[in-house]
Amino acid sequence: MSNDPTHQFLVNKIVPIEIGGIDFSFTNSSLFMVATVAVAAGFLYFTTSQRGLVPSRLQSVSEMSYEFVASMLRDGAGSHGMKFFPFVFSLFMFVLTANLIGMVPYFFTVTSQIIVTFTLALLVIGTVIFYGFFKHGFGFLKLFVPSGVPGALLPLVVSIEVISFLSRPISLSIRLFANMLAGHITLKVFAGFVASLGAFGAIGVAGSILPLLMTVALTGLEFLVSFLQAYVFAVLTCMYLNDALHPGGH
């Protein structure tokens, strides 16, 4: 069981809760969501408690993440997009922290659960649709009608635009989920090679050097992927919010 690369994605109940026949148990997934919130919020809160005019190193990290997301949002969605800053910042920090916590051995990776990434993606698209209609009414539908397209091509272009819009939550969620899942499985498989080859004596130990090196390299890569996927998730969120803010601005 411990060699099963998918074992790490198992959701185990810690406190069983059932409401109206639906299972709402507090699971290891819930535990690590709580841990993600605690770590991210705690870090951001306590590193900035000094409010230093000249920041300490950790305060710089918090300020850098703030300015990083702020510039990302400003570039992606313009200065009007800054009203979504708390949302994008929360998304980025949550996904990043969840990804990084998942890198600790034996820890659960919240973002390797498709339902988690899909819920976050639906939240993003829901915000886009809600705000788009709230702000522009039916003018939001101009999003699907790019300007300067000849009339004959319009039905085709509009249907492509609609399909691409509908596929956004799927691509957004699967991108993050699949990256985290595949990375963790790969790590587990290569690490498993090290252990199982080591059982075959001296030759096995010698042969396990290569997968060990691979594991080390992949660990580095996975840290990069953890950051990159959080960044990609946030950048795409900014771009989608831009559509809600400026539907005609293709």
Binding site: H7, L10, V11, F26, T27, M33, S90, I115, T119
Partner: protein
């Protein structure tokens, strides 16, 4: 819904636990088996379903994600973002204030330099004025002195000229007398007779008148 080797191994165990008839289990899709067993036994998630696609966990995960992410969003928007934004704004303001202060000090320094220059220029002008006044005064004094000396010299010259004229007149007057005496003596020597004074004087006068 891939069936991993590990979950395949665990299937007999799971059947025993779930008390599902073996033939029913074989006929059912893996997901459905799981749904039955998952509710009954928490540990049975390693059934035929690939763990991340195990739908029995979805409701719980969505709920807890909503709770935790909602809480996180609140913490971020109410606490952390205003704080970091405040820190950055304070720093920005402070830098702007320092720059303002620096430019104010620079303006002050410029003003001080300008007033120094002005002071210097006025001092130089004053010095020049004093010097030229002194020069003018000295010149006026010298002129007055010279004029006075010239006047006194003029007086002296006039006095001397008057004396010279007097002496000359006297001398000229003496010349007439000498001429008369000489003429009288010459006449006496030449003709042996004494000419009268009046005759000699009129003769001299006639000769001098020519």
């Amino acid at each position: 819904m891939s069936v991993t080797p590990a979950s395949a191994e665990s299937t007999p165990f799971e059947i025993a636990q779930a008390e599902t008839p073996a033939d029913t289990h074989a006929a059912q899709p893996a997901g459905e088996v799981h749904t039955e067993t998952g509710v009954a036994h928490g540990e049975e998630h390693a059934s035929g379903v690939f763990p991340p696609f195990d739908q029995t966990t979805f409701a719980s995960q969505v709920l807890w994600l909503a709770i935790t992410f909602g809480l996180f969003y609140l913490l971020m928007s109410k606490l952390v973002i205003p704080r970091i934004g405040g820190i950055l704004e304070t720093r920005h303001d402070r830098i702007a204030q320092d720059l303002d202060e620096a430019s104010r000090l620079k303006a002050e320094a410029d003003a001080a330099i300008a007033s120094y220059e002005q002071e210097l220029a006025s001092a130089r002008a004053k010095g020049n004025a004093i010097a030229s006044t002194a020069r003018d005064e000295a010149k006026a004094k010298a002129d007055a002195e010279r004029a006075k000396i010239e006047a006194s010299l003029q007086d002296k010259i006039a006095g001397a000229e008057a004396r010279i004229a007097e002496i000359k007149a006297k001398a000229l007057a003496d010349v007439g007398t000498i001429a008369e005496d000489t003429t009288g003596a010459l006449v006496e020597q030449l003709i042996g007779a004494k000419a009268t004074k009046a005759e000699v004087a009129s003769a001299v006068k006639t000769a001098a008148g020519e």
